[in-house]
């Protein structure tokens, strides 16, 4: 224990020597690692009887939780670019207290935060790079204005748009649920349920169109489904209020959308309108019906080429179980010429509603019964049948791999206790070590990529496995062989580490050969972009917990699942 009570009140730090600071640091680190709720008890115990020590540590904790000028490198003043550090838990932005990071959206990082005035949990979207009065800022403001003008049960509610020390943010409804992308990749809900989500999405986008707002970046990642089954469309990030506005964001829109869901006109850099959203919606419907996206290239140019020039394989060919009327809507939404697509979202909504009704009935319509009760009667049995293999295409090509995280708690650089099988959902402490164990009935190649918590706003990427091309790590794994990786350490800022587990039928040269430093960090921004692009276009895989670990399965030759590990 350290005695600080002898210090004068005016300048208590002046008496602090290196040894005392070392002790204060230790307590501070432990207290920060504990989380706010358990801190008081810890401090009471460790500082028992030493009020000065306790107030010293408490003032440091308070300081650590503020956003401050220290978080922005002064070099940012060199150019009209300001980099904001990733907000970390406990910091305050505006009137909101950040709890944790929940994801990345168009242009910004999204945090879960609490509004202490109302005791309400909100989603806080903070823009990561502010360019003064640049286009991006204008677009960001526009997003807030466009989206907050919309009032629809299937569109996320915006509470406020504000800025705090040049950090712009939007506070919006916090949605407990999953993205449609995650739902399609995981335990896939019954087809009927997914079609209902699609219908709600069509209603939301239709309402926005009626208000003169085009979404421009519709994709499975910004369609959220609450735990109660209500769709919430997010991220009117590229929205343009038709007729209004003082800048033209059309030009930049071409490079900002997500290529797989982008309309041909956007891919060519031409103006987008409501019918561009209809195309993107068609891509989503295709993915729902066929289990894969219609346009896929190995890189950005080839994906864009496919969007502009290639006709996708008809949905009925990919999956013969797709009802004809659904296949027809999808094909018409995906016409290259926007004049040939359905001309309104409302029309698409109507067609889908009728597909759902026929689908639910499963038999010739019986006249005289109210449709709703008819659907309810047949739905359970039909949904159960449909949810099985019929709607999950490509099962015969399925690959399976089982993985486990082995963790080791550490204290002062020494192992504490035994290595244990860790739940990916748990929270790890900085300094703890972990490694992966993988096994598959088929031979394959294993890769582990860390997308990091992205401190400082920049994209960061590490190839954790294999550590380098010439090293000892071998990514090829024989059938039923158990591969155990080397140890990794949680050592970034507290946050959520985004890992990708990849299991491939063949060696993935772009990953194996990516230039990187000895820590595995890929520094070349274009290599990072290529890698992220590759990861994001992987077909969805499903994961299930088994006695031996997490089993992931998917059709296709490369299987990849994103994994988020929280650490403090």
């Amino acid at each position: 224990m350290i005695a600080l009570s002898h210090m004068g009140d005016t300048c208590p730090w002046e008496g602090l020597d290196a040894g005392q600071w070392n002790r204060v640091r230790e307590i501070l680190e432990s207290a920060l690692g504990l989380g706010p709720d358990r801190r008081a008890a810890y401090l009471a115990e460790v500082c028992a009887g030493d009020a000065a020590l306790r107030s010293e540590v408490e003032s440091l904790i308070a300081a650590s939780e503020r956003t401050a000028f220290l978080d922005r490198a002064p070099l940012a003043s060199l150019a009209p670019t300001m980099t904001m550090t990733a907000a970390v838990a406990g910091r305050t932005i505006g009137n909101y207290r950040v709890v944790d990071r929940i994801g990345e959206g168009g242009m910004g990082t999204v945090y879960r935060a609490v509004d202490p005035r109302l005791g309400r949990t909100v989603a806080l979207k903070v823009i990561s790079h502010l360019r003064g009065a640049g286009e991006e800022k204008l677009r960001f403001v526009r997003e807030a204005k466009a989206a907050s003008a919309l009032n629809h049960p299937n569109i996320v509610t915006i509470y406020e748009y504000d800025s705090d020390h040049e950090v712009d943010f939007i506070a919006m409804e916090y949605i407990k649920g999953n993205t449609l992308r995650a739902l399609l990749a995981g335990h896939r809900p019954p087809m009927r349920t997914i079609l209902e989500y699609a219908i709600q999405t069509a209603a939301a986008v239709g309402a926005a169109h009626a208000a003169g707002i085009v979404h421009r970046d519709l994709k499975t990642n910004n369609i959220m489904v609450t735990d109660a089954g209500t769709v919430k469309v997010l991220d009117f990030g590229l929205a343009k209020q038709a007729g209004g506005g003082d800048i033209d964001v059309t030009q930049a829109g071409a490079t900002l959308g997500t290529p797989e869901y982008m309309s041909p006109e956007q891919a060519k850099g031409e103006p987008a309108d409501a019918r561009s959203d209809i195309f993107s919606f068609g891509v989503i419907l295709y993915e729902i019906a066929c289990g894969r996206r219609p346009f896929r290239g190995n890189d950005l140019p080839s994906t864009l080429y496919a969007v502009v020039n290639e006709t996708p394989t008809p949905p009925g060919t990919v999956n013969p179980a797709v009802p004809k009327p659904l296949a027809s809507v999808i094909e018409r939404c995906l016409r290259k010429n926007k004049e040939e697509r359905p001309q309104s979202m409302e029309a698409v909504h109507r067609e889908l509603t009728s597909v759902l009704e026929d689908f639910g009935a499963g038999a010739p319509k019986r006249r005289g019964l109210p449709r709703r009760s008819m659907i309810a009667a047949g739905a359970v049995a039909v949904a159960a049948a449909i949810a099985g293999a019929v709607w999950l295409p490509g099962l015969h090509h399925q690959r399976t791999v089982t993985w486990t995280i082995l963790a080791q708690q550490m204290r002062d650089g020494h192992p504490l206790g035994e290595e244990y099988v860790a739940s990916p959902a748990g929270t790890f402490q900085a300094g703890w070590r972990f490694r992966f164990r993988v096994q598959s009935p088929q031979p394959g190649f294993f890769y582990l990529i860390d997308h990091g918590p992205g401190a400082g706003g920049a994209e960061q990427l590490w190839i954790l496995y294999p550590r380098n091309a010439a090293g000892r790590d071998r990514e090829d794994v024989a059938a039923s062989q158990q591969l155990v990786t080397g140890w990794y350490v949680f050592d970034q800022n507290p946050g959520t580490e985004r890992l990708w587990i990849l299991w491939s039928e063949h060696a993935l040269d772009p990953i194996r050969n990516a230039p990187r430093d000895p820590t595995g960090e890929v520094r070349d921004p274009s290599a990072i972009q290529r890698a992220l692009h590759y990861l994001n276009q992987l077909p969805p895989a499903s994961s299930t917990s088994t006695r031996d670990g997490v089993q992931m399965r998917a059709a296709g030759d490369v299987l990849g699942v994103p994994l988020e590990l929280r650490h403090q």
Partner: protein, 195 residues
């Protein structure tokens, strides 16, 4: 300016010749300004301009790599961190002196490094507090210097100092807390009077 001049000055400075920095600073300023302008002309306005990359680029262009004899990449980072601290803090002090009507000339690079008044006061206060932190824990103060002034990532800082990333992270979190708390205790930055 031929690169060798900068290299020579840098060698003199790292060897302890304090006058070298006075000649070195404007050279580096000018290069930074030139590069910043070039990037702004060439890049689209909505394109991120990485200031750290810019600084590294300036260094690489200015300094004759064969002559500079960096011991290693780590040494390069460490020197670049110290340099950037000196450059920015000196610049901030000069700005403050000028605002108070002092005779010191501001270097002609406001276009490139235009620090808002609040920012320059913060930098000066931080520089002083960092010196005190160095007395408590020299490594911790270096971590802050590299992260904040040189804009290095956690990984680069770890490499430059030959310590683990976990240590860098811990040093950063607690050092940052200490500095912010110190700056609070020393009073509002607005009333801070340099020197």
């Amino acid at each position: 300016m031929p690169p060798t001049d900068v290299t020579g000055l840098l060698q003199r400075w790292t060897a302890g010749d304090r006058s070298a920095i006075d000649q070195l600073t404007p050279l580096i300023y000018n290069e930074l300004r030139r590069l910043a302008h070039r990037h702004l002309r060439r890049e689209r306005r909505d394109h991120t301009l990485q200031s750290t990359a810019l600084v590294h680029e300036a260094w690489l262009r200015l300094i004759d790599q064969k002559q500079a004899k960096w011991r290693d990449r780590a040494h390069f980072f460490a020197v670049s961190g110290q340099m950037m601290r000196r450059i920015l803090v000196d610049h901030a002090r000069a700005q403050q002196r000028e605002k108070r009507g002092g005779g010191a000339q501001i270097l002609a690079l406001n276009e490139a490094i235009d620090l808002p008044r609040q920012r320059s006061l913060e930098l000066i206060a931080l520089d002083d507090a960092l010196q005190d932190l160095a007395r408590l824990d020299a490594r911790q103060s270096q971590v802050i210097e590299l992260r904040f002034f040189a804009g290095l990532s956690i990984g680069e800082t770890a490499e430059a100092l030959g310590i683990s990333k976990a240590t860098v992270n811990r040093d950063w979190i607690t050092g940052r807390a200490w500095l912010l708390r110190e700056l609070d205790r020393r009073g509002p930055v607005e009333s801070f009077s340099p020197c």
